[in-house]
């Protein structure tokens, strides 16, 4: 009984604080808007022709940490696992079984390395982006409400469209390779445009025309997959970071951490869900093109 009462008081206090802030600074939405993240990741420095943005710095840090974690965890594989090896084995085995149940044993054996890497990388970057200091340490200027960081040194890797689109494009290339390996060039075209059902005569001709039109739609759908995949992940992470920043500013200097706290938990969840969604969608897209069973492929290809 003590916990619900404490939560009610906490929520009441939070509302009171938000009302006070809103009264002092005008509309909360306006307050949030003034501190929103720029949609493009700021460039911190250049390496030759390569503009290095703050999200790329975070990407490299996470990549290095992942490599370090892997080397430390599974450098020497033991028959009886312990510590970090246990964790990595659990992660890999769980993902393998999970994906195997969806795309089948043969396909998962071939493509697992990519989907697992995708999930681990997206999850690691999403969660690393939630650490204190990411987005809050960097260049800026003092304002009447405190120091305003305009160019943070670090930014969530997936809050940069370049990162999410890069992953989507890598997948697109691999998808094409796997599709051609599974079907062959002619089979690939048949898979897209071929008439299904085995009807002959006039109905067969009609179906051929219909399926060719469906194939054209399918091609458009396939071409837009990298865009939809990348914008989905980017939008969720970018919106999450904006929301956290808005909530932090809404709470003011003293209670900013408290107003943002519930949303941090939500972002932890969003980080997992988005990593899972990206991995699952790419896996299902691969299954649809590599599957030789025509019925599920046709059903699924329209989503």
């Amino acid at each position: 009984m003590a916990w619900p009462k404490a939560l009610v008081f906490l929520f009441g206090g939070l509302c009171l604080q938000l009302a006070t802030v809103a009264a002092e600074h005008g509309n909360p939405a306006e307050v949030a808007a003034t501190h929103g993240l720029p949609s493009a990741a700021p460039v911190i420095f250049h390496i030759g022709p390569l503009p290095v943005s703050n999200s790329m710095i975070l990407t490299w840090i996470v990549s290095l940490l992942l490599v370090l974690a892997v080397r430390l965890g599974v450098r020497t594989m033991k028959d009886v696992p312990d510590g970090a090896q246990n964790f990595w084995e659990w992660l890999v085995e769980s993902l393998y079984d999970f994906l195997g149940g969806i795309i089948g044993a043969e396909l998962v054996h071939k493509t697992f390395w990519f989907f697992a890497s995708l999930f681990i990388f997206i999850l690691a970057t999403n969660w690393f982006g939630l650490l204190p200091g990411v987005g809050s340490i960097g260049y800026g200027h003092p304002t009447e409400h405190g120091f305003d960081v305009t160019e943070p040194l670090l930014r969530g890797a997936n809050a940069d469209f370049n990162m999410t689109f890069a992953m989507a494009m890598v997948f697109f290339i691999l998808w094409t390779v796997w599709a051609l390996q599974a079907n062959g060039p002619v089979g690939f075209l048949k898979h897209l445009f071929g008439a299904k059902g085995g009807l002959g005569g006039f109905m067969g001709f009609i179906l051929m025309v219909v399926f060719f039109a469906v194939g054209l739609l399918e091609v458009v759908s396939i071409l837009f997959r990298p865009v939809s995949l990348s914008f989905r992940l980017f939008g969720n992470v970018f919106a999450g970071e904006n929301m956290l920043e808005a909530m932090t500013h809404l709470g003011g200097a003293k209670l900013g951490w408290l107003t943002a706290l519930p949303f941090y938990f939500m972002e932890i969840l969003v980080g997992v869900v988005q990593a899972l969604v990206f991995m699952l969608l790419t896996a299902v897209f691969t299954l649809l093109i590599c599957s030789h069973d025509e019925e599920p492929a046709e059903d699924g290809s329209h989503h």
Partner: protein, 180 residues
Amino acid sequence: MSHLLILAASDAGPVAEIAKIFGANVPALVANSISFLLVALILKKWAIGPIQKTLEDRRATISQGLADASRAREDLAVAHRKSQELLLETGAQTGRIIEESRAAAARVTEIETQKAIAAAADIIAKARHSNDAELARLKAELRQEFGRLVVEASIKVTGKILTLDDQKRLAEETQRQIAA
């Protein structure tokens, strides 16, 4: 390459505008692709590959162990059955051997007993024969002694000197009397 990037590079149209808003650019895209691919390949080489191999090896070891255990259980059951059969067979053989031994022992005992009885009878007969001989000898000696004593007594009583023939005849007569 996606049409989004192509249009972004040409800097024309709404797609280019969107790309500009979100800061999409080819160098960053390539750098991020390389970064991600490197991470994926490193994870594949150092984590996913070895872990999958370890898991497969472990699965193989476990299934091999289970198969071995199952085979060992079967072997144990077979060995147990064989040992039971051997025990039963050995028990039967032992019984037979014991019975045969008992029979042989009985036979030997019987033979030896018979031999002992025969030997005993023989010893008894010999002893009896010896006794009889000894008795006869003693009787003969006794008769001779008694005849001699009779002769001596007769000489002393009669005061007469008996001839050797008389002595002989008296002794023989005495012996005949005793024997009768």
